[in-house]
Symmetry: C2
Subunit: 339 residues, 2 copies
């Protein structure tokens, strides 16, 4: 009973603080939420909560503010995820459905997420490690340059330009192309390295330089991790908090310009496909101590693929953002499956 009320008080504090961005006091608390007790009682509870580290006061004799620990407890125990409204769901679905290729899906997703959460949104490209080769093309552009185009069964196209030292023989190139096509087409990316290891042996000495460089390029293409690309959107929303957390915009913006940082923010794969919330200093990134990150894995064909999420101030609307991230992750997974 007593424990229950304390949690209720914490919840109320978080909610009020998120709404107003101002320290919340005992009196205001009993007025806004109908807890059936007096301010004095609340004060006792608040003192206890403060002892346990869930809330803090910016100055003596000011209201209380949730600590990172407080938010943590809040999201873990208290907040029911509030489902999106059906118009929202419809909008998501329609918006994503009209995308034409992978790049487009990524861009649209990040915009969508930024728009509904009013936060900065991140979307990681899906991992393609399970792809296999559908087609490969080698085309000479000039006497010393050629282009390799790799098409996967999921419809993704990878390109590489190759600069050769000597002039390229059309005949040799055609030969390599034909044999390479036979060797790798239909094969999963994972088995390409092995296939290539024995590949160059079948060509005469004078073609070795060309074969070698093509081989190396292909190897590079199939082992490159496309899932290390992250798209970003909605940075303008950061500026809205100009007052609320004042000086910290610049480091945050700077951090967000680094791909590496974005990847770290999205975090290591969470084992299940639930939503993950990292609050304040729980983040592994320098300069983002006053931000929280809400992420979810999104899957293609029931296998976890990549992450997406939003970044915002610690005093964000967790319930709303969690719901949005979850919903968008679901829809994106579905869309990518269809394609």
């Amino acid at each position: 009973m007593l424990e229950d009320r304390r949690l209720a008080v914490l919840r109320a504090i978080v909610e009020d603080y998120v709404a107003t961005h101002e320290p919340v006091g005992s009196k205001a608390l009993v007025e806004r939420h109908h807890l059936g007790v007096s301010p004095a009682t609340i004060r006792n509870d608040m003192a206890a909560l403060e002892d346990e580290g869930y809330i803090a006061q910016p100055h003596t004799s000011a209201g209380r503010v949730p600590t990172d620990l407080g938010y943590r407890l809040f999201v873990d125990r208290l907040s029911g995820v509030k489902p999106l409204s059906s118009p929202e769901r419809r909008a998501i679905s329609e918006f994503l459905d009209s995308s034409v290729d992978l790049d487009d899906v990524m861009v649209r997703t990040v915009r969508l997420l930024a728009q509904i959460t009013k936060q900065v949104a991140l979307v990681q490209y899906p991992s393609l490690s399970r792809s296999s080769v559908r087609h490969i093309e080698l085309i000479a552009l000039s006497t010393t340059r050629l282009i390799m185009v790799l098409i996967t069964d999921s419809g993704r196209v990878e390109q590489r330009t190759i600069e050769c030292l000597g002039p390229i023989s059309e005949v040799a190139l055609g030969d390599i192309r034909a044999r390479l096509l036979v060797a790798v087409s239909g094969q999963p990316f994972s088995s390409i390295p092995e296939i290539l290891s024995a590949f160059s042996g079948q060509f005469p000495e004078e073609m070795q330089p060309l074969v070698t460089i093509i081989q190396a390029t292909l190897l590079d293409a199939v082992t490159e991790r496309i899932d290390e690309r992250v798209v970003l959107g909605g940075t303008a929303h950061l500026a809205r908090y100009g007052e609320a957390f004042p000086l910290s915009i610049q480091p945050v913006l700077e951090a967000l310009e680094e791909q590496v940082v974005l990847l770290r923010l999205l975090g290591e794969a969470s084992t299940n496909n639930m939503v993950t919330v990292r609050i304040g200093h729980e983040n592994p990134v320098e300069g983002m101590e006053s931000t929280s990150v809400v992420t979810a894995r999104y899957g293609i064909a029931h296998s976890a693929a990549a992450s997406l999420g939003v970044v915002g101030p610690t005093h964000m609307d967790y319930a709303g953002n969690i719901a949005a991230v979850q919903a968008v992750a679901q829809y994106v997974g579905r869309i990518l499956d269809e394609q």
Copy 2:
């Protein structure tokens, strides 16, 4: 003589204001710059400059601040472009030289520009209207989906996924592919529409749906304007001006998220390939009244291709930014020519 000194005064005011971001007074002016006259004389000049609209005072009895008009005169008549240092030039050259494809060049360029100017940088994709078709590939991904890959002589790869209503016949697809390849390969983009207009006639009735949709997709691909893509970088630099122009970060960030806006900022083609400067409200974009934009065309093979530039507060280092934009435009043009 008198005219000369007035211009010198304006120049001094702009320089000091850019350096300090504070209104500059007559006394400070004679101290910092060795104009051989007394503050009183400067005051007379300042009064004249104010009458003509080149400077203004924020409050009565405060120093003067350049107006947009003042900056305009400054960049038009006064500032000698200060050339980059040779280490800087070397850095640019090395940095860009190691890029591997067009996307990479764009990304690197925008980073580079942002870094040397400490401003927000924009780079527009080069126009490909002069490209011609090097190769075209049609590949079925499933029974109803196929992918079209278009390779241009400049080494650019365009992809399109096509969703068909009925099942795709491998034979028909191969037939179309072969004839299409013959028809369009080597042809410039500009002549593709005409070629296609007579193309579908050679196929039997039952193949028409497939031919038609492929044709339409190709047409779309060659007429799409890739030069309507703009990459953006260095937004973190905006936050540095948190104090200097305070409330305006959000609208600027918002504007910068819109591709359309970025294109308008880069502006219509300036006739010559000089650097263009748009100051304050000279900008055609809402919400960017307190920013200036420095742009330049960069050319591929001596034909103007696209624009790049930087966006910053009106009190920016025009001389430095103009030099940087010009230099980067030059180098990018050169790199793209080589590729």
